[in-house]
């Protein structure tokens, strides 16, 4: 609305007049002040001075743009009516003054003088003077004097009431604390149910689930698992090897009956950590306790298994539904069996692992694995590559999963090519898809980097360059 060419000319008479209009002494409000837009902003006078409504324009412009003739004024008004959104194009200051700002300023202005709300005075007893004058109907009405609701309450009293109400439950953690990688991992597990059926690699997934289930129950006791203290884990590892061959990741055999529990009853997976969180507050506040009779029935058959487990599980409300069959079938030999069907054919022996095709799978000899690991590990650790037994077990587990996965992929490729034999080209395809082979890197360069000569020669013979 302002004329593009600012002119510094400003008549002193005009400014004097406008000064008389505005009480704060803003000298430059002129015809603009009279425009209807300004009534849209319900600003208190002090606010007007502080925020500087007129600061939307430079003083020069404003002085220049002030129409002196009635025609000019009318033109200005029409223009203002036609472009209602022109304020948006101005500096954002005006827009930022929201209702909230106004209220906040009001609050600031009133804060020193305002008093905390006192409760309204309690209702006095009905005036005795009025009573005898009433007729019978009034007396009937009056008999139980309903207490009048108090109009307002002081803040302290409200807080007291809130404290009296049962404590809000702590937020339920859907994930364990220390697993930061698992945020990616969980959706993947959730979607690939058939994957789980397909790969026995996912036996990795299952104990982990139950482990998490258990984790929520003993958050404080197990939270130090995130940092690796090697000794402790070795212990656990050894314990696991005695218990189950495949699920080396289950912790201490403590939670697998929970997993079994989940499996038996087809709870929605992953099972919400149910009773553990609400147990504490419930017990604390309302004195709620499980009926002792049920507890006794349930804990007695379970007490022969893992020691701390029975005590812990006894606190579960859900365990009341657990049939004794579960706990009876709990023997260390078949602990892993209840988790999943695939685990059942994983027999305890070392070499007896079966693939999903029912063919026994030999293990990669641990000597080879250790050799490879030490070859790749020590590069900057100062040639002090100590691969402990537990670490080696973890690596072996990883490599068995790796072979499983690779074999699946290779089988898919060869089947796609219409072959029954996994060919070199399939492996080439796989490596290309793994981004190991690209334009600058060939198989041969990789092989010459990693493989000994005789293998290299075999490879060269078998593959056309």
């Amino acid at each position: 609305m302002s004329t593009p060419k600012p002119r510094g000319r400003r008549s002193p008479r005009e400014s004097d007049v406008s000064e008389s209009f505005t009480p704060i002494g803003d000298t430059t409000l002129t015809g603009l002040q009279r425009l209807p837009i300004h009534t849209r902003y319900p600003l208190t006078p002090s606010r007007l001075a502080a925020s500087g409504t007129p600061s939307r324009r430079t003083p020069h412009n404003r002085a220049a743009a002030a129409p002196s003739t009635p025609y000019g004024l009318r033109a200005m008004q029409r223009r203002a009516a036609n472009t209602p959104a022109r304020d948006r194009r101005k500096s954002g200051r005006m827009q930022r003054e929201t209702t909230f700002d106004i209220l906040r300023n009001l609050g600031r202005a009133l804060a020193p003088v305002s008093q905390p709300i006192r409760s309204s005075p309690r209702e006095e007893k009905p005036e005795p003077g009025l009573e005898p004058e009433k007729d019978e109907i009034e007396e009937l009405d009056n008999e139980p004097e309903i207490e009048r609701p108090r109009l307002s309450l002081p803040l302290e009293e409200v807080e007291e009431q809130e404290e009296a109400s049962p404590e809000p439950r702590p937020p339920r953690l859907s994930l364990a604390f220390e697993e930061e990688d698992i945020t990616v991992e969980y959706p993947r597990r959730a979607t690939s149910e058939h994957d789980r059926a397909r790969l026995s690699m996912m036996s990795f997934g299952n104990p982990r689930l139950s482990e998490n289930f258990g984790d929520a129950t003993r958050l404080e006791s197990d939270s130090e698992d995130g940092d690796d203290t090697g000794v402790e884990h070795e212990d656990r590892e050894n314990q696991d090897e005695t218990v189950m061959s495949q699920g080396a990741f289950d912790r201490g055999g403590e939670t697998e009956d929970l997993g079994r529990f989940n499996f038996d009853f087809n709870f929605p997976s992953p099972p919400p950590p149910p009773a553990d969180d609400m147990n504490g507050p419930l017990n604390d506040d309302e004195g709620f306790e499980l009926p002792p009779v049920d507890l006794a029935q349930d804990t007695v058959p379970m007490s022969d298994e893992s020691d701390g487990d029975a005590a812990m599980a006894g606190e579960f409300g859900l365990d009341l539904n657990m049939p004794s069959r579960v706990s009876l079938s709990e023997s260390p030999g078949i602990v892993g069996g209840g988790l999943r069907d695939e685990d059942t054919f994983v027999v305890q022996g070392k070499q007896k692992k079966l693939s999903r095709h029912g063919i026994p799978v030999p293990n990669m000899p641990s000597g080879v694995v250790r050799k490879l690991a030490t070859r790749f590990a020590p590069a900057r650790a100062g040639s002090k590559a100590k691969i402990s037994k537990a670490t080696l077990a973890a690596i072996e587990q990883a490599s068995s999963w790796y072979f499983e996965q690779v074999a699946e992929d290779l089988a898919a490729y060869s089947k796609h090519a219409g072959r029954k034999t996994i060919d070199e080209s399939d492996v080439m395809t796989l490596m290309r898809r793994q981004r190991h082979i690209n334009n600058s890197t060939t198989v041969f360069s990789l092989a010459s980097k990693h493989l000994p000569k005789e293998l290299l020669q075999d490879m060269r013979l078998s593959m056309p360059p």
Partner: protein, 78 residues
Amino acid sequence: MAATQKLYPRGTVKRIIKAQSNCNVSKNADILIFLDYMLFMQELVREASIRSRKTGDKTIGPNSIRKVTERTLRKFKG
């Protein structure tokens, strides 16, 4: 590398793949598979050592291996 006369048992690798895939494995494909396995091990150990160094361990613990296994396996998914 130390040129060991036998880097790995070829028959074992072949049998592993054959059992897991239910396919035959051609004569020299296992070399490539083992090459890929070496790359996998390299990646796995490297990731694990990075992770264990981040947690302040000198050696690679089983836990760090476990933590990186999933990621590395996914990296090697064809």
